[in-house]
């Protein structure tokens, strides 16, 4: 087990960058106070769009400092269909990594398309030999283009308890052949914990923690589903306050992840309402996160 970190130099704390001007307003004070040690950029949401001058400068600055992480959202690593989606995505990535220097690049567990459909939110895939083979091939292709460590993020949504319990071993099956890393999203764990009534630390223990290089922290929302007799479903919508339980498990998680490099706070730019004080909430979450990381308490 890793010793609880004693200085901020051990693990870098940062933000997932967004394109919306409200995001820039909300996080600028954190940059002004020199609190953002590393940034993550979901480069594929920027393909075909013009970044603001601010965003472009931040990307260049952190690229030069080797403190820029890449996080794709639309590769669809477990998509078993034979389409041009992945090859086209990889062609764009080749161009991307020529312009910015990413320390590592991650994608998501699950599939986001199939047959005649595109999908922009991943769904789980049962752990089968074929699905494993597909995922390994896709990760090898990704690693060849990226030329930096590549990894996968655990998924929030699950159809059943088996989806939840097999995800950790499945990720190990996928990551081991490329010596890939795990991006452990603690809010996704929180969603599964609430939806399937399993303690967070019990779920976290099912994952290959020695592979964790990065943690994601975010908030989310509750959705009512009348079809489920009033049952709620916790969803990873990146639009609210980080739950207290995530801060509470954070020191233990950090202690169990010996290769941890970065912790990233996520908040979707299009969910920020400055008139409702969302900027202050984001700043408060970030400062609390940073304090928890530096001092090992929540």
């Amino acid at each position: 087990m890793r010793d609880l970190i004693e200085s901020e130099d051990d693990v870098l704390v940062g933000l997932s960058l967004m394109m919306e001007p409200e995001f820039e307003v909300a996080v600028q004070p954190l940059f002004d106070d020199d609190l953002v040690e590393i940034v993550e950029w979901s480069f594929d949401i920027g393909w075909g769009r013009q970044p603001s001058a601010w965003l472009d400068q931040v990307l260049r600055d952190y690229s030069q400092k080797s403190q820029l992480l890449g996080h794709g959202v639309s590769y669809s690593a477990l998509d078993a269909s034979e389409t041009e989606r992945q090859s086209s995505w990889l062609d764009n990535l080749k161009h991307e990594v020529q312009h910015l220097r990413y320390s590592h690049i991650s994608e998501h567990f699950g599939f986001m398309g199939g047959g005649n459909f595109h999908l922009a939110a991943p769904l789980p895939v049962p752990r089968t030999k074929a699905a494993t083979q597909v995922g390994i091939e896709r990760l090898k292709d990704l690693a060849e283009v990226a030329q930096v460590p590549v990894g996968l993020e655990n998924l929030a949504f699950a159809f059943d308890r088996d989806d939840v319990e097999e995800q950790g071993p499945f990720l190990e099956d996928l990551l081991a052949p490329v010596d890939g890393f795990l991006l452990l999203d603690l809010h996704n764990i929180y969603c599964q914990s609430k939806n399937f009534d399993v303690p967070m630390l019990e779920l976290i223990g099912m994952y290959p923690l020695e592979r964790v290089r990065e943690l994601h922290v975010s908030g989310g929302s509750w959705a009512e589903h009348p079809a489920g007799s009033g049952n709620q479903v916790r969803r990873d919508t990146h639009d609210g306050k980080v739950p207290d339980e995530i801060y509470e498990v954070l020191p233990e998680v950090i202690g169990r992840c010996p290769r941890l490099h970065a912790i990233i706070l996520e908040r979707l730019g299009n969910t920020i309402d400055l008139s409702q004080g969302d900027d202050e909430q984001i700043q408060a979450d970030y400062r609390r996160l940073r304090t928890a990381v530096i001092h090992g308490w929540s």
Partner: protein, 74 residues
Amino acid sequence: MELSVQTDREKMAKYQAELLRVLHEETNLSVVQQEVLKLRKDLGLTGDRCNPEPRFLDAAMELTKKWAVPKSKS
């Protein structure tokens, strides 16, 4: 690639495509339940794995209706 793995991959691809189609197109939860049950059985899953709780199917329907679009229209 082994023939069996290739066959399983085709089966998985069909499952993924059909699952998205059902979640995207159907509005009746009971119909979705029946379709998902059949799809997951065909994939080789057994027991409760074939019959997800309605709240999760409902959530997946909402998620998919919000985001999934036919490729011809994208």
